[in-house]
């Protein structure tokens, strides 16, 4: 009995350490967003702020700073850009990859060659495409638009989701499709009305991952956008690092706003994530 208590006690200690490691940085960001400027940095650090403030969000009249670097009041267009880019990336990614994955899984279209090409695109480092894409998009007049970012985010989300969905579709018995064909349904109908609903968790998981990836992506957005018309939230953060100071509070506030939508979105999709991320790899 005592042994059991000790073990469960140790387990709890261990759990607390793990949670602390993974959550403390987030806690620090969240509290900094609500801290007065003198508490951003101090020794000993202000772990539990005694008084909170909203001035990092709304801006404060102090010193020489204007609203651009002391509040997040200009964040709305960026939030909008981020939402649009991430949602469309997620939407197009699922459409393109689900139909391709179905075709590859069921009809072996393109065989291993096509599949290995797709997998190898997943491995492509974004930095290696940035230069030619910049020039290509300039010629197409796509620079500084949502489309430029969406297209490039798709390049990096589609391969993974195709890969996962192939294995997901493999898990759905073939007999189901064949029965549908015999009943006279076309491939498209079978795909839309039979397979898609059955594989909803996998598709939802991929949509979520595409959203997370697109939301946080930095390098591509950095190079391809240049104004509030299309810049995303991660790019927005750069404005608080000035030669006058680093505005840690507003920076944390903006970071918080950047973080919340993706966390809320992912939490609601969590059960799908758990079902969808097994790569069909566990066979029994």
């Amino acid at each position: 009995m005592l042994r059991k208590i000790i073990i469960s006690f140790l387990k709890w200690i261990l759990l607390i350490i793990i949670l602390f490691f993974f959550l403390f940085p987030v806690y620090w960001l969240v509290t900094t967003a609500f801290k007065h400027s003198q508490d951003w940095f101090s020794w000993p650090p202000v772990l539990i702020p005694r008084s909170l403030t909203l001035e990092n969000f709304t801006g404060q009249a102090r010193g020489f700073e204007g609203s651009l670097s002391s509040s997040i009041e200009n964040i709305v267009p960026y939030l909008k850009n981020s939402l649009i880019i991430a949602l469309f990336t997620s939407l197009f990614c699922t459409i393109i990859s689900a139909s391709a994955a179905y075709s590859i899984a069921r009809f072996k279209t393109g065989g291993r060659r096509l599949a290995s090409w797709i997998v190898s695109i997943r491995m492509l480092p974004p930095i290696s495409t940035v230069l030619p894409i910049y020039i290509l998009f300039r010629n197409l007049k796509l620079l500084d638009t949502w489309w430029a970012v969406i297209l490039m985010h798709l390049v990096f989300t589609i391969p993974f989701s195709t890969w996962v969905l192939i294995s997901f579709f493999n898990g759905i018995p073939k007999e189901l499709d064949e029965a549908a064909y015999i009943d006279g349904a076309s491939i498209w109908k079978t795909f839309l009305y039979l397979i898609l609903p059955l594989s909803a968790p996998g598709i939802a998981a991929m949509a979520t991952l595409a959203f997370i990836m697109s939301w946080g992506e930095f390098l591509i957005a950095l190079i391809l956008t240049s104004s509030p018309r299309s810049q995303t939230l991660p790019i927005f953060l750069g404005r608080y690092i000035t030669g006058f100071r680093i505005a840690w509070g507003p920076l944390a506030a903006a970071g918080l706003v950047t973080m919340i939508p993706v966390i809320v979105f992912s939490f609601t999709m969590q059960r799908y994530l758990l079902k969808g991320l097994t790569f069909g790899a566990v066979k029994y």
Partner: protein
């Protein structure tokens, strides 16, 4: 019938193929072409052919050497820790009180945009006022210059990488464990197997393919590491934390768009990645998993 099916099947992959032809093959050809040229935007001169010079320079480049060694360090240190820690947590939280809650909150680091994570860690690692050094001082450890020494800046990047990516590994493995049929485990228990034996002989063999997939994904993502370095150490001090992607960024973008040399570096990186993934795909039998 057979024909229309084939036609539809091809139609279904067509968007994907067109998309990638347009957005990956073209850039690759452009890169290959430019890698044999001298082209630097800040010189305001059109590109001119220089043969293999860019590629020869790669082998003399101090920056390439250091970024390679840093990346190898990451692969050898961060990757195993992430896999072990992720596996451990996935097993550890099974049947624990508050499992669901723990599972949910552990996902947060994975969702925090890397740039935000960078900002966060830059505050945490601050030598004078950072909480990390504060907690260490409670243990009577002197203030550590996390971002200002060759050794510790590497450790810092590794810690940040572990923080951000262990949750992903945890999630995948946790999801994998959930799919193992309970009756298999029950059967094991009936046969008198203890927790460790079940893990060793039932769960691990079933999860093996997942480990392979995770290793290959993480390996490649380490080669892509950029945002965190950009936001915290900026590759420094010296060349201590130049990741490969960060170095290519500096060459191709921040020095003034050295398109030629940057392309050569990217082509080489792609070659390395292709070789790596081909080997890994073979060894992990991806085709069997995909039934192709």
């Amino acid at each position: 019938m057979e024909k229309t099916i084939k036609k539809s099947a091809i139609l279904m992959v067509l968007p994907l193929i067109l998309f990638f032809v347009f957005l990956t093959i073209f850039p690759f050809l452009y890169m290959l072409f430019m890698s044999f040229h001298h082209y630097n935007l800040l010189e305001w001169k059109p590109p001119y052919f220089i043969g293999l010079e860019n590629y020869i320079n790669v082998f003399k480049d101090q920056g390439v050497k250091s970024s390679l060694s840093f990346t190898i360090t990451l692969v050898l240190v961060a990757l195993p820790i992430e896999i072990l820690l992720g596996t451990f947590i996935a097993i550890f939280i099974q049947n624990l009180i508050g499992e669901k809650f723990v599972r949910s909150v552990l996902l947060i680091p994975m969702m925090v945009p890397a740039v935000v994570a960078g900002v966060m860690w830059k505050m945490l690692f601050n030598v004078e006022y950072g909480p990390v050094n504060y907690f260490l001082s409670l243990l009577n450890i002197d203030k550590i210059p996390w971002l200002g020494s060759s050794f510790y800046s590497k450790v810092a990047v590794i810690i940040m990488d572990i923080w951000q990516w262990t949750p992903f590994i945890f999630l995948v493995l946790y999801a994998g464990i959930q799919t193992i049929p309970q009756d298999l485990i029950e059967a094991g228990k009936v046969d008198g197997a203890n927790r460790w034996m079940i893990l060793r002989h039932i769960e691990f063999p079933m999860l093996k393919p997942l480990f392979w997939i995770l290793i290959i994904l993480r390996l490649v993502d380490i080669l892509k590491l950029f945002d965190i370095v950009y936001m915290t150490t900026f590759g420094g001090p010296g060349y201590a934390t130049h990741s490969i992607s960060f170095y290519i960024y500096k060459v191709s973008v921040s020095f003034g768009w050295d398109v030629g040399y940057g392309s050569a570096l990217s082509v080489l990186l792609l070659v390395v990645i292709t070789i790596l993934t081909t080997i890994l795909i073979r060894t992990m039998r991806l085709w069997e998993l995909l039934e192709l």
